[in-house]
Each structure stands twice: as structure tokens, then as C-alpha cells.
């Protein structure tokens, strides 16, 4: 990593030239001036530290943190000047904080090391000195010949030398690199492809020259020079010759390749991006608060210094006879004195900046994030995947989401295409048990083992099974050893074949025809073979008219077994129908629209017969276009347009991309939580809208606005204005907006504001035909809009990565399209529906926990240090500490640290079931509300108030310094300080106890344990003359304090005085203006479950179980009614209040049904 960075920054240029010369198998020329180039080894390093640099590097990184640096400065100041507290008081907590962080980071790095070692230590086979040697991946050097077997990943970037196939090709998938799951064919140079054995390779003399490593996956320029019989043959190399590290070999038994880019120079490693540090909103406000506290600290120190000099201006206070200065002090310069006094005050008050805040926050996030992975509700049984946390820094951000950007395919849908229906010759069919059944017929005829298909149907099926670019992978590799694939076709069943296709639709279609009886069984050279109900037919593939996004169709030209020439075309309805001349065009069009409405993805299939004469013409056109040297593209388009004409319509297909489980419910719930949902998809407009409708993103009642196919700026602006007007006129109903990629880029270029205006007023936005970067752009647009909303992006594919990285929180769905999205995400879940719990429950919890944690930390440190400040007014601003050094040191790391940590791990303000049942609770914490300036002010003022009560309570207790002990003896200053400290520890701990809503045994343990620990520790600390301590000021002070009855009474009264207004405030707020969170606290868990039941029942007709549970609930309630009026009262109250808040947001029927029933029963 470091090396990579240095290279990127240009520090150590590893390459002298623009190209690298790789001698295959490292056989360097024996003569000639050869300067060996140095290449990186094949080690992948994702770890940050090594054993040796861990300490210095980690320390350096930690002290780059502003808070740590601040404490380091304080520590150094303490070492330099004559300070009121010993350097240990800030040194020890700093050491503690640094150590804990270092341990955590060390552990994480150790995990990375382990992963690296696993990768670097993976066994690979390398050709060395004439034989195949097994070695570790990290030992591969540039120039080594590597053997890779089927289904293995490539350990480095290799130039393909040979495969076990005669033509030297191989198939790979690059799913883990770019998310494309189709098979790609890579080629080797003919001169090397003959070297299929180790001995042949040994004899090979070749040199590869290629460019220096670069990150672009699709660019590779080089050449290979093969020396054969003293003759040098030069061949160009391109990306199709390069096998990328991380890609997987498919369908090929083994290959040999020469390593050209290794380790951190491989294209995969160069594409590995350092994850940008995302910072949560909480952390940002935390930093703001820190700055405010820094200002408070500085002003307190300045004030104290000024007052000190004001006092000292009077002679009798400057140097009373009993406390004279040393000569040195008298003679030192006043400015130096002033500065040193200021620094001393700074040191005295420095604890107001909570040193352990960062480390506690970090620990809380690290430990707390385990709960996400542990959650059974986020575990997906079928795929055996649990939720995965990649960044624990953003836990609380999950509770703050305002905009949700979701990909469609694979995120909302399963990305599992299923052939559903088709229309052949104007008749609709659906697939049932592997048979095509015309519409209207029910089920299949029981007897018919080989159904009679009409010729149109057969032609249609053949067309579908021939017109594609699907590849086949055979699972039984040993049964197919290259050569002629067809010889074995009949000997094994089709189930061993696996289709790979660039488009999942094609795959679904070919699979469907196989089920029905027309199976595509292979393709070799220019022959395609299909198996029609047991009969094998061979078609000669003459031309492929490739798919391109402008034409939106593809065609093949085949020679049928009977010798005729035929064209099959398949494409989008709008791209094919206009060119059809015969067939049931109108009926088919109707059917296609019907399919689209059902949310099916549609394709239209057509064919054309060529007469021999026509074909010659076609062939000529194509050849000339393909070989044209100028304007080849254009000519090809013309040729295609000419050929794909006069088509005979065969029919249309409807493929369903199944919605994931519970997607509509999840979207509904998230919407009621106040989250605006945008669907960003690469799909076409019609499909996107229909999926959007079926997943509940768009409602049927919504007024759908369109911003589509805008060509010019003005047109776009005009349309936007029109839409804005429509929204204004019609503000009663909800609006949904559909935008396509092209119009979006127009809208974003000039009319961002107008566009935002429209978007904000729409309750649902759908962007279709989006390029990956456009997705990120949309996210950034909202992110940077004036309200700065928190955005979340969900996606599953490589095309979502940019969006995931751009959003505040990126969530990867562990789908079928590789793990690229998962790897780049902050959190990864198996299914879209888990989002509801992740946001509503986990997000809510984490946010409340961390918000309270932060506020409480500031509060407790204000409480801690303000009495010390106040004490200066009574000791001539002489920087006398109120508390002993040990107490100053341990307050934050021992006495008050654990309760808040445990609180921040386990607190549950509301039962998780209620949180899920009442999504509107999510709104209570939106906009960082618990860390608003008002709450911050409340906690700070509270801290100051409590500090005043502690100090002046104790001060008044001392009165005119009357004895407080029954033996008439007197307290000293340390007893006074210890009294204040004791009161403080108890109050601060109990204040947290008041905040705690969820008392597990651990909360009890740490809360009471902390107080007990304080007492036990103090008794111990004060009970011994500590030989290594400089002074014995605290000796027996604590025992003396506790032996005094008045002190006990004082402790009780001061603690109660501090806390009882708190209790008052809580109760009054709860009863006078309860938040909906508070209201729902009074619901019990079973009630909550019932609530969610009622909801699902009413909204989604989810069957029986909900009904019975509802019935039980009602029974319960009526039972309660009879048993006690009061009881019923509360339950009805809670339910009614719930409905009050709720029907605001949801236009559904839930409340309407619940309330009347209840009213009638109670």
C-alpha cells in the first residue's frame, strides 16, 4: 500500500522506461546489453502496519487527531512549567486512550494481515526449470509461467500463452472485478498456443513487451516476440490476451500464462481504492462541541489569569508575609510569568475537554457494530449470509437517513429472470410445468408426452434458442476434452450444461426454451446446434448482427439444415415492431403492453427468409461494411438497417424479474419513516415504471410526472417549469417523477435548482437509463443541496459502487453480481427487506446511544472541572487543585467510564418491535435532533448548574468553617475537595441512571459497581502511606469524611437537589408534551407485535396468522376492560395516540379499521 502511494506520488519511480520487457520464464538473453528491470513481487498488501513500524506509525496517526494532539500538548506543558497537577494526571489517561486505540487498530490490522497472508500464501503452480512446481502466490515473479486450472482465480495479471484447447482460447468471468457475469473469451497468440505442455513451454523463447501498469481494466497494449528456429515473430497483444488477477477461469481445463503485472502492480490492486473516510453527522457535531468547549476552556483560563493579576496588584495579596516568593520568582519577567500562569490555568482546567470521549466513542462503535452481524433478523437463511459491517464509524448515521437511493435490478428484484409468458402469432401463452399453454387452457393434457406444437410455435422457439450470444459451461469437464463438442451431446443430459450470458434475459429465454423442449446445446466455430424434442439440428452461423444500445436489437443469420438462409431478430418492441411487415402485429403489440404492465421485461422476436439472391446481396453488404476502412460504424449501421427489414413477426416474450421478498412492505415502512426513496436504474423507462409500481414505489393514485427524452436545454427547462407548475396547482395528491438519464444530465447541467425544486415536491422519484456515474452524481446533488440531507445508497452491482461510495451511508446487497458492491459498501445485507430493521431499529438505537454518549461526556466533564474553576475564587487564583491528582486522573478512566459505555451498548429506548411497527418514530430522531444546539445547551447548562450545586452546597456546609465532626476536629482543604468529588461521582452516575431506560444486569452492575468502586478505591488509596508518592495529602482524608455524619447528610441532600428537578422535568414533559417515542414506551412488547400484525393485515392482506393475532389482541383488550377500567384506559390511550400521529403520514386503512373496533369494545 505504502509503496503504491509512493509510486503514485512519484517518490520512487520504479520504472525507468515507458514499457516493461518481460522475458518469458525469465530466460534472459545470454548476450547483448540487458538491464534487468525491477518489478514488484506478487504480494498483496492491504495492511497498514508491520511489526516494526506499528508503534511509530500508529502513534503518528493517532496524534494527528486533534484531541490527542491537544492532550499531548497539555502533557508537554505540564512537563515544562511549574504546574498545579503532576504530568501524570494527563499523561496517564492519554496513555490509556492511545493504548486502547492502538490495540483496536492493531487487531484490525492483524485481521488484514491474516487475509493478506491467505491470499499471498495460496498455492499456485509455476513452471520452473522444466517442471511444474507448486509454490505460494507471493513467490510469483514477473516472467514466471503460471498454470491455472479450471475455476481457479488468476494469481497475477497474465498474458495467455496457451490453453488446453487447440485454438488457444479460454473463457473467464470477471464478476469480482467489474460485476459482469458473462463468459468472456480470451485468446493466445498462435505461436505460443501450441505449447500445451511443460516441456514445450520450456523450449519457448519469447519476450513480452508491454506498457507499464495502469489501472484501466480494459486497456492493455503490448507485443510478444517469439523466437522460432532463429526467426523472430512479433505479434501484437491487446486486452483480449490479458488475464486479470481476480478473474476466474471457466470452462477451460487449464491454461498457461506469463505473469506481466504482479502484486500491487496488478490491475486489480491498482483499482483497489482506499476507502474514503466517511464521517458521520454525529462526529461532525461532536467536533463543533469540542471547539465550543475549547473556547470555554480558553476563556476560563484567560479570566482566571486576569483575575489573578487583579488580585496581585494589591501588595498584601501578591506576597503575604506567610507565603513569600523565591528570588527567582521575583526576578522573572512579568510577561513570562503571565504566560506561565495562563498555561497553568489551562492545565488546571484541561479536563473540560473529555479525553476519553474519542476512545469511548470508538469502542462503542466497534463493539456495538457486532450486534448488526449477530442479528438473526438480518440473517438470510437461503443464501446463508448475515449482515456484514465494513465500517463501524457510521452506525449512528443509519438512524439519520433522509434520502434512500436504490438500484432496481438485484436490489429490489432478485435479479433472477424467469420466463413467464409469450405471445406467438397473436396468441398468448404461459409456461406451465415445462409446457407452453395457450391462454384460456388450464393445465396440461395429462397424456401428451410430446406435445404437438404448431409450426409457428416451433419456429418461435427455435428463433429464441438460436438468436443470442449465450455461452455454455459444462460441469462435467472430463467428459468434454475439447475437440468436437457435438460428439458427446447426446450422452449427457442437458442439466449439466450451464448457460452464461451477458444479459440475464437471454439466459432466461434460452433456459425456458430448453425446458419446453428446444434446447441450445452448443456452438462450435460457426455451427450452432439445437436439440428439438430429441432431434439434433445443426445451423450454420453466418453472421451475427451484434446488439447495440442504439439499435436495441440483435440478429443472427443462419443457414438452416435444409440449406435455407434465415435471419432471426430479437429486440425491444419499439426497435423491432416498426420493421415488421407480416404477422399478428397489432395483437402482439397489445400483448407486449400487457406484459409491460405486469412488470415483465419484454422482447419481440421476428424472422426473415432470404432467397439465395437476397442472401448474396446481404453477405456482400455486410462484408463490405465490415471491411470498410473509413466510417465503418456508419456503414455497418446502414447495412444492419437494410437487413433488419421486412421482418415477419413471430411473437414476443415476457420475462419476469421477481421482486424480492417484502419489498413493497419495506418501501412503505421506510416511506412512513420519513425517508424519501429514489430508484435509480439502468433499465428502460417502461420496465422501470412497471417495477416501480409493483414494488409500491409509485402508487396507482400518484400523479406521475415525466421528464423524458429531452433533447435541448430549453426544452428541458420548459418541461421542468411545466412540472413545477403542475405540482403547485395540484398539491393534494402525491406526485411521482420519472427522469431518464439523458434528460437528467440536461437538467443537472443548467437547471439544478429547478430540478431540485421539482424533486423535493415529489414523494417518489424514479431515474431510469442511468449510467453508474450519473447515479453518483444524483446522490451528490442531493447531498450538497442546502439542507444537506443524509443520503443512503443501496445497490448490488459494480455499477452501484460509485453511488455507494458517494452517499453518506453505502449499503451493499449480497446479490448475484459479484461482491464489488459489498466490498465497497459500509454495510452489506443479503436482502432489501433487511433495510427496514437495519435503519429503524439498529439505526435508531445507535443514534440514541451515541448522541447520549456524546452529550453525557461533555456534561460530566463540565461537572468535573467547574468546581475547580470556582475554587480559584477562594484561593487567590493560585491554581490550587480542588481534587487530588489521583482523582483527577481516574475520574474519566475509572469512576465514570463504564456506565456510559454499557449504556451506549445496550440502551433501548423503545422495544425493537415497536420501532418496526411504528416507523414514524424514526422521524423523532431525524435531522440530528438529539445533538441539536438546544440539547447541547441543555446538557452544558445542566453541567454548570450541577457543578455550582456541588461546590456551593459543600461551601455552605462548611459555613464559617464550623467543625463537622463530633469530636470537634476540623476538616482540611482535601476533605473539602473529596466531599465535592464524592457528591459529583454519585450525581453524575445517577444522572445516567435516570437516562437509562433499559436496565440489564450489566447496567446494574456497572452503575452500582462504579459508585462502590469509587468508595472502595478511596478507602484503599487513603488508607496507606504510599512510599512512592511525593505527598501524603490524602492520607485518611476519605475515612475522616465518611466518619462524619454531616457529610453523609450533605451528600444525600446535594445529590437529591441536583437530580430532583431532572425527575420533575422528565415527568412533566412526558405528561404535558410527550414525544411519540415516549408514548410508545408505554406499549408492551406483545402489544407491539399485535400492532405490527394489524398493520400488515390491513395493508397487505397477509393472511390468517395476523387475523388470529389481532383477535387475540382484541380479546386481551376487552378482558382488560372488564378487569379494570384504568387498564383499558391506558391501552386505548396508547393506541389512539398512535393513530393520531400516524394517519398524518399514511393514506392507508390501518387506523381507520383499528380505532372503531376499539372504541366499540372499550
Amino acid at each position: 500500500m505504502l509503496r503504491w502511494i509512493r509510486q503514485q506520488l512519484g517518490f520512487d519511480p520504479p520504472h525507468q522506461s515507458d514499457t516493461r520487457t518481460v522475458y518469458v520464464a525469465n530466460r534472459f538473453p545470454e548476450h547483448g546489453h540487458y538491464i534487468p528491470q525491477r518489478f514488484a513481487d506478487n504480494r498483496i498488501i492491504s495492511s497498514k502496519y508491520t511489526i516494526w513500524n506499528f508503534v511509530p506509525k500508529n502513534l503518528f496517526e493517532q496524534f494527528r487527531r486533534i484531541a490527542n494532539f491537544y492532550f499531548l500538548i497539555i502533557f508537554l506543558v505540564q512537563l515544562m512549567i511549574d504546574t498545579p497537577t503532576s504530568p501524570v494526571t494527563s499523561g496517564l489517561p492519554l496513555l490509556f486512550v492511545i493504548t486502547v486505540t492502538a490495540i483496536k487498530q492493531g487487531y484490525e490490522d492483524w485481521l488484514r494481515h491474516k487475509a493478506d497472508n491467505e491470499v499471498n500464501g495460496a498455492p499456485v503452480f509455476v513452471v520452473r526449470s522444466g517442471s511444474l512446481v507448486q509454490t505460494r502466490s507471493k513467490n510469483i515473479r514477473v516472467g514466471d509461467i503460471v498454470r491455472v486450472a479450471k475455476d481457479e482465480t488468476f494469481p497475477a495479471d497474465l498474458v495467455l500463452l496457451s490453453s488446453d484447447r487447440a485454438d488457444g482460447t479460454c473463457h473467464i468471468t470477471t464478476a469480482s472485478l467489474d460485476g459482469e457475469t458473462n463468459l468472456k473469451t480470451h485468446f493466445s497468440v498462435p505461436e505460443t498456443s501450441v505449447c500445451q505442455s511443460v516441456s514445450q513451454l520450456e523450449a519457448l523463447q519469447a519476450v513480452v513487451e508491454c506498457q507499464q501498469p495502469e489501472a484501466d481494466l480494459y486497456r492493455f497494449v503490448g507485443r510478444v516476440t517469439v523466437t522460432q528456429h532463429g526467426e523472430e515473430i512479433v505479434r501484437p497483444l491487446g486486452p483480449e490476451n490479458l488475464l486479470l488477477r481476480g478473474a476466474r477461469l471457466k470452462n477451460t481445463k487449464e491454461i498457461f500464462g506469463v505473469a506481466v503485472y504482479t502484486g500491487m502492480e496488478s490491475k486489480m490492486a491498482l483499482n483497489y481504492k482506499c476507502k474514503s473516510q466517511k464521517r458521520s453527522a454525529v462526529e461532525k457535531s461532536m467536533n463543533t462541541f469540542l471547539i465550543i468547549y475549547l473556547v470555554i476552556l480558553l476563556s476560563e483560563a484567560v479570566l482566571s489569569t486576569i483575575l489573578k493579576y487583579a488580585w496581585q496588584s494589591e501588595e498584601e495579596w501578591n506576597e503575604p508575609f506567610y507565603n513569600q516568593k523565591t528570588e527567582q520568582e521575583r526576578n522573572s519577567s512579568p510577561i513570562l510569568q503571565f504566560i506561565s500562569d495562563f498555561l497553568a490555568f489551562l492545565v488546571l482546567y484541561n479536563f473540560i475537554i473529555p479525553i476519553s470521549l474519542y476512545v469511548t466513542v470508538e469502542m462503542q462503535k466497534f463493539l456495538g457494530s457486532f450486534f448488526i452481524g449477530w442479528d438473526l433478523d438480518l440473517y438470510h437463511e437461503e443464501s446463508n449470509q448475515k449482515a456484514q459491517v465494513n465500517t463501524s464509524d457510521l452506525n449512528e448515521e443509519l438512524g439519520q437517513v433522509e434520502y434512500l437511493f436504490t438500484d432496481k435490478t438485484g436490489t429490489l428484484t432478485e435479479n433472477e429472470m424467469q420466463f413467464r409468458e409469450c405471445s406467438i402469432n397473436g396468441i398468448k401463452y404461459r409456461e406451465m410445468n415445462g409446457k407452453l399453454v395457450p391462454e384460456g387452457m388450464t393445465g396440461d393434457s395429462p397424456g401428451g408426452s410430446s406435445p404437438q406444437l404448431m409450426s409457428e410455435e416451433l419456429l418461435f422457439l427455435k428463433a429464441v434458442s438460436l438468436c443470442h450470444t449465450v455461452q455454455i459451461s459444462y460441469n462435467q469437464s472430463e467428459s468434454w476434452l475439447g475437440g468436437d463438442p457435438f460428439s458427446h451431446t447426446n450422452s449427457f443430459s442437458f442439466s449439466h450444461m450451464e448457460y452464461y450470458a451477458a444479459s440475464p434475459d437471454e439466459k432466461a429465454l434460452v433456459e425456458a426454451t430448453r425446458r419446453i423442449g428446444v434446447a441450445f446445446t452448443g456452438c462450435s466455430g460457426d455451427t450452432m446446434e439445437i436439440n428439438t424434442f430429441g432431434k439434433t439440428e445443426k445451423y450454420k452461423l453466418l453472421h451475427v448482427l451484434e446488439f447495440d444500445p442504439n439499435r436495441r436489437r440483435m440478429s443472427v443469420i443462419l443457414e438452416t439444415p435444409s440449406g435455407g438462409k434465415m435471419l432471426f431478430t430479437k429486440g425491444a418492441e419499439s426497435a423491432v415492431l416498426p420493421f415488421t411487415t407480416t404477422g399478428e402485429i397489432e395483437k402482439t403489440r397489445l400483448h407486449v403492453d400487457e406484459f409491460a404492465l405486469k412488470g415483465l421485461r419484454t422482447l419481440v422476436v421476428a424472422c426473415r427468409h432470404f432467397s439465395p439472391k437476397e442472401y448474396i446481396d446481404v453477405d456482400k453488404r455486410l462484408m463490405s461494411a465490415r471491411t470498410a476502412l473509413q466510417r465503418r460504424e456508419e456503414k455497418l449501421q446502414q447495412a444492419f438497417a437494410h437487413i433488419e427489414n421486412n421482418l415477419h413477426l413471430l411473437g414476443a416474450t415476457g420475462v419476469e424479474d421477481k421482486l424480492q421478498d417484502k419489498v413493497p412492505e419495506t418501501i412503505e415502512v421506510l416511506r412512513r419513516a420519513g425517508i424519501k426513496i429514489w430508484v435509480l436504474t439502468g433499465d428502460k423507462h417502461e420496465t422501470a415504471v412497471s417495477v416501480s409500481l409493483s414494488c409500491g414505489h409509485f402508487h396507482r393514485t400518484m400523479n406521475i410526472l415525466e421528464l423524458l427524452q429531452q433533447r435541448s436545454d430549453n426544452e428541458c427547462a420548459e418541461q421542468l417549469r411545466r412540472l413545477a407548475r403542475r405540482i403547485k396547482e395540484d398539491h393534494v395528491i402525491q406526485h411521482g417523477l420519472v427522469v431518464d438519464g439523458a434528460s437528467l444530465s440536461l437538467a443537472l447541467r443548467e437547471h439544478e435548482k429547478l430540478f431540485m425544486e421539482v424533486c423535493k415536491n415529489c414523494s417518489a422519484v424514479l431515474c431510469c437509463r442511468m449510467a453508474p456515474l450519473q447515479k453518483a452524481k444524483v446522490v451528490r446533488l442531493l447531498k450538497t443541496s442546502p439542507e444537506k440531507p443524509i443520503t443512503l445508497a443501496v445497490g448490488d452491482g459494480a455499477n452501484d459502487v460509485s453511488m455507494i461510495q458517494e452517499a453518506h451511508v453505502g449499503i451493499g446487497i449480497m446479490g448475484k453480481e459479484g461482491r464489488q458492491a459489498v466490498r465497497n459498501s459500509d454495510y452489506a445485507i443479503a436482502r432489501f427487506k433487511f433495510l427496514a430493521k437495519l435503519l429503524l431499529v439498529h439505526g435508531h438505537f445507535y443514534y440514541i446511544r451515541i448522541a447520549t454518549l456524546v452529550q453525557y461526556f461533555f456534561y460530566k466533564n463540565v461537572c468535573f472541572i467547574t468546581p475547580q474553576f470556582l475554587y480559584q475564587f477562594f484561593c487567590l487564583f493560585s491554581q490550587q487543585t480542588l481534587y487530588d491528582s489521583v482523582y483527577l486522573t481516574l475520574y474519566n478512566i475509572c469512576f465514570t467510564s463504564l456506565p456510559i459505555l454499557v449504556y451506549s451498548l445496550f440502551e433501548q429506548l423503545v422495544h425493537p418491535d415497536i420501532l418496526q411497527a411504528k416507523p414514524s418514530l424514526y422521524r423523532d430522531i431525524s435531522k440530528n435532533s438529539l445533538l441539536s444546539f438546544r440539547t447541547f445547551l441543555y446538557w452544558t447548562v445542566l453541567g454548570f448548574t450541577h457543578a455550582f450545586v456541588f461546590f456551593f452546597g459543600s461551601y455552605l456546609l462548611m459555613g464559617e468553617d464550623t467543625s463537622l465532626m463530633s469530636n470537634g476536629q476540623m476538616f482540611g482543604n482535601w476533605t473539602f475537595g473529596t466531599l465535592v468529588f464524592t457528591v459529583m461521582v454519585i450525581t453524575v452516575t445517577l444522572k445516567l441512571a435516570l437516562e437509562t431506560q433499559f436496565w440489564t444486569w450489566m447496567n446494574h452492575f456497572v452503575t452500582w459497581g462504579s459508585i462502590a468502586f469509587y468508595f472502595i478505591f478511596s478507602l484503599f488509596y487513603g488508607g496507606i502511606i504510599w512510599p512512592f508518592l511525593h505527598t501524603q495529602d490524602m492520607y485518611f482524608v476519605f475515612v475522616q469524611l465518611l466518619s462524619c455524619g454531616s457529610a453523609w447528610f450533605a451528600i444525600v441532600i446535594i445529590v437529591i437537589t441536583c437530580l430532583f428537578p431532572e425527575v420533575m422535568k422528565k415527568v412533566l414533559y412526558r405528561h404535558l408534551c410527550p414525544t411519540s417515542t415516549q408514548k410508545s414506551q408505554s406499549l408492551s412488547a406483545p402489544q407491539a407485535q399485535a400492532l405490527s400484525c394489524v398493520e400488515s393485515l390491513c395493508c397487505y392482506q397477509h393472511g390468517q396468522s395476523g387475523c388470529s393475532r389481532l383477535a387475540r389482541l382484541l380479546e386481551q383488550m376487552t378482558g382488560q376492560c372488564k378487569a379494570s377500567v384504568n387498564n383499558c384506559h391506558t391501552s386505548s390511550r396508547s393506541n389512539r395516540s398512535w393513530s393520531d400521529t400516524e394517519n398524518f403520514y399514511s393514506n392507508d386503512r390501518t387506523i381507520l379499521t383499528l380505532s372503531p373496533i376499539e372504541a366499540s369494545r372499550c
Binding site: 485481521l111 487475509a115 498584601e316 503575604p320 508575609f321 506567610y322 507565603n323 513569600q324 523565591t326 457486532f370 438473526l376 440473517y379 446463508n384 449470509q385 448475515k386 461482491r819 466490498r823 438505537f845 477562594f874 484561593c875 493560585s878 490550587q880 445496550f906 455552605l956 456546609l957 462548611m958 464559617e960 468553617d961 464550623t962 467543625s963 463537622l964 463530633s966 470537634g968 476536629q969 476540623m970 482540611g972 482543604n973 473539602f976 435516570l994 431506560q997 436496565w999 440489564t1000 502511606i1025 505527598t1031 501524603q1032 485518611f1036 475522616q1040 447528610f1049 441532600i1053 437529591i1056 437537589t1057 430532583f1060 425527575v1063 420533575m1064 415527568v1067 412533566l1068 412526558r1070 405528561h1071 384506559h1129 390511550r1133
Partner: protein, 337 residues
């Protein structure tokens, strides 16, 4: 952080109360129905305790005598600026029996014993009787570490150097005859200070040879109380009392207890004369000196604060609970409608 692809089948999270965040928990809700009775109870209890504390405090007797002598009428006025030894006496009368045991305090005001440098200016090792520190006291004591001839001072430091050196005697006028009230100098310092924290080397001037007395002191440390070897040197109780710094600038320190003879049960009503050997200068910083006679209860000296605080907080609790009750009632009715 989390490993990507673990072995199949082992990915299922454990279904335990802990991992599922379903630990059994007590979930208290602070609602009015709990808080109102609680407040009432606390309020009542506090008022009760407060009244008891107040009565206890009221029963404590206190006699305060300012002897600074700022006023020219005052008998000690003459001593105020006098640098020589000076004695003055004040008379006062006690109307009713001053119940014993009576504690005799001296008090200083405007005196900042709690200054940082002043408080740190001592050597605990020296005071623990460690002879190494006799010859080489800690520099914390500066500028009271060594005298002008560079001889080490024992006990060093500003705190010891400024020890209070007024002394008092009290006499009771019985039938026109002055009867000395015996003052007990034992038990005025903390037991642990006297027995553990401060130690003497074997009290012999030999150990102190090569050291000097503090500059302000009339006599060296080993001559503080020559009559009682257990009250001499570092464990002289007057010294110990002084060395325990006061928290605030107006403070009192215990001087003597009156526990002997006829006065064990207290000071009978009558006229008393307080004779003061006036040495300690306070006028430079506008300080005041006073003598306080007080008896104590189990809760110490006269202290109205606790009683008042308990009564105030208690009544506030009660008042607040009434307020809450009203709110609660109104809220309840509103709910019922």
C-alpha cells in the same frame, strides 16, 4: 473487518439473548403515578430530617470573641502594631451553663492557607522523621528551605514557618477570684496525623544539629512542648493542627478542649477572662483573629445549613408533587374526554 466468505453453514448468528439484544431488562418509566408518591415521601422525610437537624443545630451554643483589636477601644488595640511581646485580656460572660465538652477554637479570616505554593511548601518525608531530608529538604519548601547561611531549615516550608503562635488562657471569675480553666491540648489533631503521618526521630537535639529552626519561630521544633515528650517535635498537636490546611480563607482551628475538673460538664454561667499572648500579625492583610467557644453534637458544630437545606428541598418536593398532581389530573381529564 469481517471475514468475507466463511465456511458454509456456520454463518448463522447465535440465537442468544445477548446477541439478539433481548437481555431481560427492567424498563422503568418515570410516570406521574410513581413520581408523585415518591416525591411526597421524600419531601416528608426530608422535612422531618431537616427539622431534627435544625433543632440539633439550634441547641449548640457558640461564643465568639474577636480579638484583632482594630477598634481603638479594644483591649488588644495596643498589641496590634506592637512587635514586642504583648498580652491583652478580654472579659465576657456566659448567661447559662455552656454544656461540655466545650471546644476552644481560634479563627483567622482573610488568610489564604489554600494557596497552592503555600500548601505545597512542606516536605512530607521530613515530617515523617526521615533524617535524609533533614539535611537536604525538598525544594518545594523554597524560599524556606535554607536560611541565609545556607543551613537547612527543619521543618522547612512556608506552611510550617507561618505557624500560628498566639496563645490563650481562660479564667473563670468565681466570687471575685480568677480561677484558671484547665485547657486540654490532647485530641485536637487527627488521630492518624498524630500517630502515623507525622513521626519524630528520637527527640534529641543531636538529630537537629546542622539544621535551623524556621525563621519566624522563636524556638526550634524540638522545644515546642518541653513538658510532654509526646506533644513535642513534629507530633506537637498545635503544629499538626496548623499543618492541616484549611479549605477556605476564613477558617477556624481547634486550639484546646475543656474537659477537666469542674469544667468537664461545661462552663457554668458567669464571667470569664480570656488572656491572649498576642504575637501573630494579621493587619497586613486585613485579617481578623478570633476565639470561638463551642460545643458539638453528633453532627459537629453549629451549622444551620443542613437543617434549612433539608427543609427547603423537602418542601420543594412536596410543592412539586402537588403541582404534578394538578397537571396529572388535568391531563387525565383531557384524556378522558
Amino acid at each position: 473487518m469481517v471475514k468475507e466468505e466463511q465456511e458454509e453453514s456456520s454463518n448463522r448468528p447465535d440465537n442468544t439473548a445477548f446477541t439478539q439484544q433481548r437481555l431481560p431488562a427492567w424498563q422503568p418509566i418515570l410516570s406521574a403515578s410513581i413520581v408523585i408518591p415518591m416525591f411526597l415521601l421524600i419531601g416528608a422525610a426530608f422535612i422531618g430530617v431537616g427539622v431534627a437537624l435544625f433543632i440539633t443545630s439550634r441547641d449548640i451554643q457558640l461564643q465568639e470573641l474577636d480579638y484583632t483589636g482594630d477598634d481603638s477601644e479594644h483591649p488588644c488595640f495596643k498589641c496590634r502594631t506592637n512587635t514586642e511581646k504583648c498580652t491583652c485580656s478580654m472579659t465576657f460572660s456566659i448567661p447559662t451553663l455552656f454544656k461540655g465538652p466545650v471546644f476552644f477554637y481560634y479563627g483567622l479570616t482573610n488568610y489564604f492557607q489554600n494557596q497552592r505554593k503555600y500548601g505545597a511548601s512542606k516536605d512530607d518525608n521530613q515530617l515523617y522523621g526521615d533524617l535524609d531530608y533533614f539535611t537536604n529538604p525538598s525544594t518545594d519548601c523554597d524560599p524556606y528551605t535554607r536560611d541565609s547561611k545556607n543551613m537547612p531549615i527543619v521543618p522547612c516550608g512556608a506552611l510550617a514557618n507561618s505557624m500560628f503562635n498566639d496563645s490563650f488562657s481562660l479564667s473563670h471569675t468565681v466570687n471575685g477570684v480568677q480561677k484558671i480553666v484547665p485547657l486540654d491540648g490532647k485530641g485536637i489533631a487527627w488521630w492518624t496525623d498524630y500517630n502515623i503521618k507525622y513521626r519524630n526521630p528520637t527527640l534529641n537535639s543531636v538529630f537537629f544539629s546542622g539544621t535551623k529552626k524556621p525563621t519566624n519561630w522563636p524556638k526550634p521544633i524540638y522545644e515546642l512542648d518541653t513538658t510532654d515528650v509526646y506533644n513535642n517535635g513534629f507530633i506537637n498537636q498545635d503544629f499538626l493542627v496548623w499543618m492541616r490546611r484549611a479549605a477556605l480563607p476564613d477558617f477556624r482551628k481547634l486550639y484546646r478542649r475543656i474537659t477537666h475538673d469542674d469544667y468537664a460538664d461545661g462552663l457554668p454561667a458567669g464571667n470569664y477572662t480570656l488572656t491572649i499572648a498576642y504575637n501573630y500579625p494579621v493587619h497586613s492583610f486585613n485579617g481578623k483573629k478570633k476565639v470561638v467557644l463551642s460545643n458539638v453534637s453528633w453532627m459537629g458544630g453549629k451549622n444551620d445549613f443542613l437543617g434549612i437545606a433539608y427543609i427547603v428541598v423537602g418542601s420543594m418536593c412536596v410543592v412539586m408533587s402537588v403541582v404534578m398532581l394538578i397537571v396529572y389530573a388535568r391531563f387525565k381529564f383531557a384524556e378522558d374526554v
